[in-house]
């Protein structure tokens, strides 16, 4: 049976299949494994960041800082690998620690100062971008043999190269889905999104959960930054401007309710793929300009928001009718 909470996810899936079918009918070459592999590789950093954003939005919050954190991570890695001789793995650990601490600090500010997440993470966005500028305003290339090794890792099927970073994204989505649906933390996130007051009354540790959510988002943005630096082999403080909006769009297109409480990590995965598909189609077409990407994503975003509104409205109406029926029913009995 199809539950109404699954409906947005199903519609996302249907959109994806339909979009892919349309693309494939126009350009049969898009069915090739190579396109699929590139879809995963090109959207790896966005996907990883979007997993963090899914948790944040599920809890009813928002994180505007991730684009800046990704840029900061890239610049930090590039500068530290240029200036010191530490191993990239140690640098990865260091930067993940930093970004997780950054997310924790934002979560603590949101919870303890009772400020809207929107404005706190806006400050975080300025801070991270500013820190990246202070480290370096130029694009710093990363040349390290370990980077070459990582970039050289791929799994080849029929000429299609499934690279390490694409695999990392898929792994992040699997772990994210498990955490969201199979752990207490995940359940707490959903409870928080359903309503903070109710969650508190149910015994959800609101402080720990809120701080944890933003720590996860910060940490995943850091991981996404590492992936982005592997993808581009450079750190640039002006990179990934506006990625937070792409991530939010992917989450919404993936069927997660923006008010929190409903949604699936898997939906975000298809949201990312749909957005990647639009980009790929435009590349294949060759005559369409890149700005069409923005317009199509904007319209999709709008369509899914409308869908969410419609579903919430229908659910409310049904609940009201059910209440009415039980009320009149019990009246008739007495």
């Amino acid at each position: 049976m199809i539950r109404s909470t699954h409906l947005p996810l199903l519609i996302t899936l249907a959109t994806f299949v339909l979009a892919y079918a349309l693309c494939a009918s126009a350009y049969p070459a898009m069915l090739s494994l190579r396109v699929v592999a590139n879809l995963l590789t090109d959207n790896a950093f966005l996907g990883i960041a979007a997993v963090g954003m899914t948790f944040v939005i599920l809890s009813g919050g928002i994180d505007l800082s991730i684009g800046s954190v990704i840029a900061f991570t890239g610049v930090f890695l590039a500068v530290i690998l240029r200036e010191t001789s530490i191993h990239p793995l140690a640098a990865f650990a260091l930067v993940l620690l930093l970004t997780t601490a950054f997310g924790t600090a934002m979560g603590a500010t949101i919870h303890y100062l009772e400020m809207p997440p929107f404005i706190v993470t806006l400050a975080g966005m300025f801070l991270a971008r500013g820190a990246a500028y202070v480290l370096s305003t130029e694009s710093v290339p990363i040349t390290h043999e370990f980077y070459d090794t990582l970039q050289g890792l791929y799994w080849k099927i029929d000429g299609a190269r499934f690279r390490l970073i694409g695999g990392l994204m898929v792994l992040t989505f699997i772990v994210g889905a498990l955490v969201a649906h199979r752990t207490r933390f995940g359940q707490n996130v959903y409870a928080l999104g359903g309503g903070e007051q109710a969650a508190k009354l149910m015994g959800v540790p609101v402080a720990r959960t809120t701080i944890g959510i933003y720590a996860v988002s910060g940490g995943l943005a850091g991981l996404s930054g590492i992936v982005f630096s592997l993808y581009t082999s450079a750190g640039y403080s002006l990179a990934t401007v506006g990625v937070e909006l792409d991530a939010i769009a992917a989450v919404v297109i993936g069927g997660t309710l923006l008010t929190g409480g409903y949604g699936f990590v898997a939906g975000t995965f298809f949201g990312i793929l749909i957005m990647g598909l639009i980009q790929t189609y435009i590349v294949f077409d060759g005559t369409l300009s890149s700005w069409w990407t923005k317009i199509v994503i904007g319209s999709l975003l709008f369509a899914f928001i409308l869908l969410q509104k419609g579903l919430t409205w229908a659910a409310k109406k049904r609940a009201a009718q059910a209440r009415m029926r039980t009320a009149t029913g019990s009246a008739a009995l007495s």
Binding site: F118, L127, G130
Partner: protein
């Protein structure tokens, strides 16, 4: 509300006093790093000077924050203003490139901005989508639309009338300064001399009860977003006129954040309710003065964002409800003021935030 008990003049002054102090500090810093900061020359029929520059360069943010103040007072937010600026600039440029006059171009740009505002307003007021999401749609798609208008190029133009709006002067004063001063005065006058301002505050405090009290909140909400769109359009035209071209990618980039920051520095709560356009405008000037300090002191402009972030954080701590309660408790545990003393009104205001 204080205007009924104390009279409008002293309450306005008291309201904007913290902002004036911050502005004075920012200007003093400017003087410290550049002693001739306040020097204003009159050359070639135009005023020159750093102070004039601050007023002139602050024009786009000042214009945006007029509309943004109203939107935030209704407990909303308008993320699309930067994109609307790009659209308006693109429309104005394409109209003059097609050979029409600057008046037509301005009207077309305002119409485009108004349409964008109307769209946001309908999403928020009629479809009941939360404002941050509703305006996100246009923020994402808006730059694409602007690029569609300019066909992906940077449209340059040499229409003297349109350029005059951004780079010209009237009686020696740069036009942008006059535009934002006039618009700020007009909107303040309209919302404060009629009940509109109070109705907007009522929506921000509690929309449901304001509707039950008979306020047509839908129409008012649409109007507020409409005003924000119009302000953004005007800012977009000024920015385009200033560089004699419409750059769909970079016009107004991140200005929505500056505008929100200006409103927050102006002491307006993001949770809606009481607002002051004058305080927001001073907030815009504070931002521009800070930019000017960084430029004049020779500090790398990279520090600009870090300083802005610290500024927001500081204000957040001050605005935080929990800190407000703490201060209130401190005050309450001190010597009690006379019950009918006017000193009791500011503490009430603080708890209301």
């Amino acid at each position: 509300m204080t205007s009924q008990t104390i009279g409008p003049r002293p309450s306005v002054l008291r309201r904007i006093l913290p902002q004036l102090v911050i502005l004075a500090v920012a200007l003093a810093l400017n003087v410290a790093v550049f002693p001739e900061f306040f020097q204003i020359d009159f050359r070639n029929g135009r005023l020159f000077g750093n102070l004039i520059d601050v007023l002139n360069r602050g024009a786009p943010v000042a214009l945006l924050c007029i509309g943004m103040t109203l939107v935030i007072a209704t407990k909303g937010i308008d993320l699309s203003v930067g994109a609307v600026m790009a659209i308006a600039g693109a429309v104005a440029a394409s109209v003059v490139v097609d050979g029409h006059g600057w008046g037509t171009a301005l009207l077309a740009a305002l119409a485009a901005g108004g349409l964008c505002g109307l769209w946001n307003g309908l999403l928020v007021a009629v479809l009941r989508i939360q404002p941050i999401v509703a305006t996100l749609v246009l923020m994402v798609a808006g730059r694409g639309i602007a690029q569609l208008v300019t066909e992906g190029k940077i449209l340059t133009f040499d229409n003297p009338g349109l350029i005059h709006l951004g780079a010209g002067t009237v009686a020696g004063v740069p036009t942008p300064i006059l535009i934002w001063l006039a618009l700020g005065a007009l909107v303040t006058f309209v919302v404060r001399k009629t009940a509109l301002g109070m109705l907007i505050e009522a929506i921000g405090i509690n929309e449901r009860s304001s509707r039950l009290a008979g306020i047509n909140s839908r129409v008012l909400l649409v109007c507020v977003y409409l005003v924000s769109g119009l302000c953004a359009a005007l800012a977009g035209v000024i920015v385009a006129a200033d560089i004699k071209g419409a750059d769909a990618n970079n016009a107004g980039l991140w200005l929505e954040l500056d505008a929100i920051l200006a409103v927050v520095i102006g002491g307006n709560s993001l949770l809606g309710g009481r607002f002051s356009i004058i305080a927001s405008l001073i907030g815009a000037l504070i931002i521009q003065s800070v930019n000017s300090v960084i430029l004049l002191s020779g500090l790398p402009p990279e520090f600009n964002l870090v300083i802005k972030a610290l500024l927001i954080l500081g204000i957040l701590v001050i605005q935080s409800p929990r800190i407000g309660n703490y201060i209130y408790l401190l005050k309450a545990s001190g010597p009690q003021p006379e019950p009918d003393a006017p000193a009791s009104s500011p503490t009430k205001e603080e708890t209301a935030r």
